[in-house]
């Protein structure tokens, strides 16, 4: 399915969705965070979309916004799409978990929580996965400072 067709179908799934294909090989959909779970669930169940394989879930720090990028593919129809969601609150960023849609999100959300500090509602067990529980700060954020361990050029 071409990007235009995908855009046409996905437009009907929610409101205020932004589409862009500039600077990327995939069609990018920017979803308001309140609609994230609803849209993702429809992306998987819609008979013409069937995005059942989340092959990459990336945490991002766009400064000042934090966010998550979902790379999705349909194993049956073989089309791909990128979903982006942003959250402006850096103190207490919260998004909905999508682990009930794609179970791989369970671990990837733990990784994002560990390194970006984004909390996920309804995650089964949100915890530090790589770092120790008492670790302060979130290392992959752009404003993270660790004078002892980081070499800054």
């Amino acid at each position: 399915m071409t990007n235009e067709d995908l855009q046409h179908i996905i437009t009907g799934l929610g409101t205020d969705l932004e589409f862009t294909a500039e600077g990327s090989e995939f069609l990018n959909v920017i979803v308001p965070k309140e609609q994230l779970h609803n849209i993702c669930s429809q992306l998987k169940s819609h008979p013409e979309l069937k995005f059942d394989y989340a092959f990459c879930i990336t945490g991002m720090d766009w400064v000042p916004a934090l966010g998550v990028i979902y790379h999705l593919e349909s194993t049956e129809l073989r089309h791909q799409i990128v979903v982006k969601v942003m959250v402006d609150d850096r103190e207490n960023p919260t998004l909905d978990s999508v682990h009930d849609i794609w179970q791989t999100a369970d671990f990837h959300e733990l990784e994002i929580f560990d390194f970006f500090g984004i909390k996920f509602n309804n995650h089964p067990k949100l915890r530090r996965l790589f770092l120790t529980p008492e670790w302060e700060g979130f290392p992959l954020r752009k404003d993270y400072v660790d004078e002892a361990n980081m070499i800054i050029k």
Partner: protein, 373 residues
């Protein structure tokens, strides 16, 4: 009532034990917190980070040429393929088309890497299940591949042969001959492997029907590589999103539907033959051409996002580069196959014996630096 049912009926107190971070069956520093009832596993919770080097953060500091070298240290048994993934992503950003010669050489070395990786996996899988001989057989044959790499690339494991735009230097004059010698010899060895382990009745009893992963779960958990193909999930990036010279060779994607440990074993054993076939199709007609396309000393990718998927020996590796137009990337993400494959372990290890967990883990072929990055 079978023994298994009886065992499930008699309840004992649940407690947890640490499997790792120093455990021979983990092949690295993986810590699994097992909640067990007697010898029956109730929950597996991985605790990671024992070898985390924050490669993604280091990438934000380094130039694109330097990033290539860091990726060796993720899945060190697929180091050439990891390097290639980054180079392909950078080439995508620069809109460079590498020469046919580079594509073919990259593909041949990819497949040699895959054979070497599967050899090592076969050896240690036998060892994990108590058959030490397989380890020595596999390392004897893998040695020949490492010698070929050493002669051409100067290193045996972390090869660093790829650079953005092509290869660091041309192949060694002996490369073609030695590769052919290896293939000729290795073809006589796979039947030996089968006689030793594949047809062994004890091995069958340890692996058949153990750790069953369904196709739906494999897709949902993002499982890829031979592990996914053993469950019938057609996930081969070489087939679905061909890169380098994979679009000009003829090979089969090995698919099984059983999804158990033995199926995962068979997929890898049959992939050895496919890798041999790919190398044989390419080795005699490596085209002439330049070894490296001209790139600037300081590479600056245009503003945008670049994503490249490749098939390592363990599954799908994704490289996501977000560039703001500077000489170093704004953000790099490595989607490693091991991390997603590990996430399914708890799901398929409920109510199995500890010994079966070891067999399942062996068939998943984890490389811990790939999980931790």
């Amino acid at each position: 009532m079978t023994d298994q049912q009886l065992q499930n009926k008699i309840k004992t107190e649940e407690y947890f034990i640490n499997m790792g971070p120093q455990h021979p069956a983990a092949h690295g520093v993986l810590r699994l917190i097992l909640t067990i009832d007697g010898e029956i596993i109730k929950n597996v919770e991985p605790d990671l980070g024992y070898i985390h080097r924050s490669i993604e953060k280091m990438c934000e500091r380094d130039s694109y040429q330097q990033i290539v070298h860091l990726t060796d240290r993720m899945d060190y048994l697929s180091s050439h393929i990891n390097n290639e993934a980054v180079c392909l992503a950078v080439e995508k950003g620069l809109e460079i088309e590498v020469s046919d010669r580079v594509k073919v050489i990259r593909t041949i070395i990819d497949e040699l890497t895959r054979i070497a990786s599967h050899c090592l996996w076969w050896g240690v899988m036998g060892m994990d299940l108590g058959a030490l001989t397989s380890y020595f057989y596999a390392f004897r044959d893998r040695e020949m591949i490492n010698d070929i790499f050493e002669e051409t690339c100067g290193a045996r494991l972390t090869m660093n042969y790829n650079v953005p735009g092509g290869l660091m230097f041309d192949i060694h004059p002996n490369f073609v001959k030695r590769t052919k010698d290896f293939i000729a010899q290795f073809k006589t060895k796979i039947p030996e492997y089968n006689r030793l382990l594949t047809d062994n009745v004890i091995f069958h009893k340890r692996t058949k029907g153990v750790g069953i992963l369904t196709r739906e779960d494999a897709i949902s958990f993002g499982v890829s590589g031979p592990t996914a193909r053993a469950s019938g999930f057609s996930s081969d990036v070489r087939k679905h999103h061909p890169y380098s010279a994979y679009d000009r060779v003829d090979f089969k994607e090995i698919l099984f539907t059983e999804g158990d440990t033995f199926a995962r074993y068979q997929v890898r054993m049959m992939e050895l033959w496919e890798s041999i076939s790919i190398i044989e199709q390419l080795i005699d007609n490596i085209p002439e051409g330049e070894i490296k396309a001209a790139t600037k000393a300081v590479i600056k990718l245009p503003k945008g996002e670049f994503y490249q998927r490749v098939e390592t020996a363990r599954g799908e590796l994704g490289v996501y580069i977000n560039s703001a137009g500077n000489k170093n990337p704004y953000r790099v993400k490595f989607r490693s196959p091991g991390f997603s494959n590990l996430s399914v372990l708890n799901h398929i290890s409920k109510d199995v014996l500890i010994g079966d967990l070891v067999a399942t883990m062996a068939s998943f072929d984890f490389v811990i630096p790939d999980i931790d990055r």
